[in-house]
């Protein structure tokens, strides 16, 4: 336990050595392909046999979906073989090492919050804009908004399969028993924050059966919370955006979490935990299981979570549904998703593009979509009612509120994830997160906490990717 990390660097070098050894003798197949004078100019139809290498992470179900997509692709292009490498753990470390060893795949699944942008800044990725410009089948308008990641305007580094948005999931029986109207699913009827808190109070129950609006309510012994809200930026960003705030200013020049709109949203979330006691604090949240179990066991009545929660909910045997999140000023959902990126070093960009398309195609990942984990990337799967029916009707993962609360919202009210446009996001959050810990615990107000680190955070602000 303590001896194995003699020095992290020893390990690094060890891995590096291994990678070089592996690349030197390990993949004659790929080498012989690339030595042939082919590729970059060629049509995808050029009939020589090639191998594309691809790395992904993910659960066994996700990998199965990729394999299914790859099988379809290989049937369509019999001369192309896809070597899928599933890296289950420490994906970024492994990929970093591959980059250091000059042994990168043709296509890699990437995550906007980690090493995708650092790699792109060093020019390691193909600009997919050129493909999007000339492709007959998919282009910027045929994809769901906010799933294209750009280093700067016009330089697309990745396209996401399986977009995700956020919603307000709830246990229908709790509402029925309490005689309370459940959360609306239509955007036009969305709760205001105060309405939301009122309902949450009525549904927060202590061990003696008193609710949070009872003066004798005991916040130390809560049996059922009104709502669970994670303190992950993915969740609270929804409310910052909804309140008109942002992580950095519009011109990208200044840190904006200490500005009134963002501070108000953060404070409201903190108040839910520390003033109204309707939501578990980060410490109490350690006892709250995953959304599906928490709702089923009535530990919480409502949960703000990503739509991927429907996969787990579909397998839990209780009446769940989904409504739109409460609105501060504007209805908004943050859209998060991974991305496929193409390494510039690929010898077969055209073929790699075809593979990428094949994997983004919702038909390929239909299992992932109908099971609830993903949503389709193609816009016509939302707008065309036949297509929409394919993945939203008569499925356990798609309750009655789903079309209004999720499908409609992601299409019209989506906001890109901050990791997609805030430069240096990780370093900024390294400074913000410790300060937010104090806000969530109620030790400081959001204004105090954000002001206290604003100067330090400002030093890390480097601009936005969505403006020139």
């Amino acid at each position: 336990m303590k001896r194995q990390k003699k020095s992290v660097l020893v390990l690094v070098a060890l891995v590096l050595v291994f990678v070089t050894v592996m690349t030197a003798c390990g993949k004659p197949g790929a080498n012989s392909d690339s030595s042939s004078p082919s590729g970059s100019s060629g049509e995808a139809g050029s009939k020589e046999n090639i191998t594309l290498r691809m790395t992904v992470w993910g659960s066994p179900e996700e990998v199965a979906a990729y394999k299914f997509g790859i099988k379809r692709f290989e049937e369509k292009f019999p001369n192309i073989k896809v070597d899928l490498q599933h890296i289950a753990a420490d994906y970024d470390t492994k990929l970093t090492t591959m980059v250091a060893g000059n042994d990168v795949p043709d296509i890699a699944m990437m995550e906007s919050a980690s090493i995708a942008f650092p790699l792109a800044e060093q020019g390691k990725f193909y600009n997919l804009q050129e493909f999007l410009d000339k492709d007959e089948f998919i282009n910027v308008d045929s994809l769901v908004p906010n799933i294209i990641y750009s280093l700067e305007p016009g330089n697309v580094i990745g396209i996401g399969p399986g977009p995700e948005s956020f919603g307000l999931f709830y246990n229908e029986d709790i509402f029925k028993d309490a005689g309370i109207e459940p959360p609306p699913s239509k955007l036009s009827e969305a709760w205001t924050w105060d309405e939301f808190i009122e309902v949450a109070k009525k549904l927060t129950v202590d061990s003696k059966g008193r609710t949070a609006d009872d003066p004798n309510f005991d916040p130390k012994n809560i049996k059922q919370y009104g709502v669970s809200v994670s303190t992950w930026w993915g969740v609270y960003s929804n409310f910052i955006y909804s309140n008109g705030g942002d992580f950095v200013s519009e011109d990208g020049k200044s840190f904006a979490l200490n500005q009134p709109a963002a501070v108000e949203a953060l404070q409201k979330i903190s108040d839910m935990m520390n003033v109204h006691h309707v939501s578990p604090s980060p410490v109490q949240a350690k006892n709250i299981p995953a959304t599906n179990v928490a709702l089923q066991t009535k530990k919480v009545a409502m949960a703000i979570d990503g739509q991927w929660a429907t996969a787990g909910l579909a397998q839990s045997n209780f009446n769940f549904n989904v409504g739109v999140m409460p609105v501060l000023k504007e209805p908004v959902t943050t859209v998060v998703c991974g991305m496929f990126s193409m390494f510039k070093s690929t010898k077969h960009p055209e073929e790699a593009w075809e593979l990428m398309k094949a994997l983004i195609d919702p038909e390929a990942s239909i299992e992932m979509i109908t099971s609830g984990t993903w949503m389709p990337s193609y816009k016509n799967w939302y707008t065309d009612s036949d297509m929409l029916a394919k993945w939203t009707e008569n499925l356990d993962a798609r309750p009655s509120g789903y079309n209004d609360a999720i499908v409609e919202v992601i299409l019209t009210k989506g906001h890109q994830t901050p990791t997609g446009y805030v430069k240096n996001f990780n370093k900024i959050m390294d400074i913000v997160n410790p300060a937010l810990d104090k806000v969530w615990l109620g030790q400081q107000t959001a204004q105090e906490a954000m002001d206290s680190i604003a100067a330090k955070a400002q030093e890390q602000v480097q601009g936005r990717r969505d403006i020139k």
Partner: protein, 295 residues
Amino acid sequence: MRKGLWYGLLFTAPAILGFVIFTLGPMIASLVLSLTDFNVFKDQTSFVGFSNYARLFSGEDELFYQSLGVTFYFVILRVPAVIIISFAIALLLNMNVKGRSIFRTIIYLPSIVPAIASAMIWMWLMNPDLGLLNSMLSWLHLPTSNWLYAEGSVIPSVVLTTLWGIGSTVIIFLAGLSGIPQSYYEAIEVDGGGWYSKLRQITIPMVTPTLFFNTIMTIIGSFQVFNEAYILTQGGPNNRSLFYVFYLWRTGFRDTEMGYASALAWILFIIIMVFTYIIFRTSKSWVYYEGGERP
């Protein structure tokens, strides 16, 4: 004689080669890298002299000082705890009681549990609302704690989790204890001394070489604490468990600043060297070797 030398080299070759290729080589490489701005993703790497080190000590990198402080606190808490507790356990296990080997096995058992598994168990035990520790405390009407999830208690809690795995330290103490000749104790008995005299006059002086070794190894191991931050706390809350090696790893692998991370690694190496040197220097005055002075 000559033949003996060759055999010696032959049989130690795996260890020597392993050390040179997998330890010494990478160390030299990292020393060189620490003088560059090496970033895994950048194609260009240039020599920057000592600017990585300058950046560390300029006060610009607050997390460096934070992680250093956190790690020292951890070492100061953990080293005495490990040494005292494992010595006490070794003394108990050295007694001639029934089922001694079973107790020895039980004490060593946690050391072979994978780090992740034991970390998960500790997370459950230390859960503020449902965990066994708080349940026991409130049953005894004692104040409960937020353990890993509060700024003040996170480091002591992490120390507590590591105490679980002191089996190997205990084993080394046991080896030291069993090397003490029985006749010394008999001599004390003849002189009419009790258990305290035995402990004070025989056991402790005789076991000082083992104590010396264990102290150094525990200090080194404690400075290199990583798993606990990686699995249990992610450096939180409010960076209060941002251990040095965890910060180093984050700099090198998440932020891909390998040059800077190498400089961090060398600073840690120097710190550990200094501590080891100090203990070696003081050892003359407190470590007793039966054969007289250490050669």
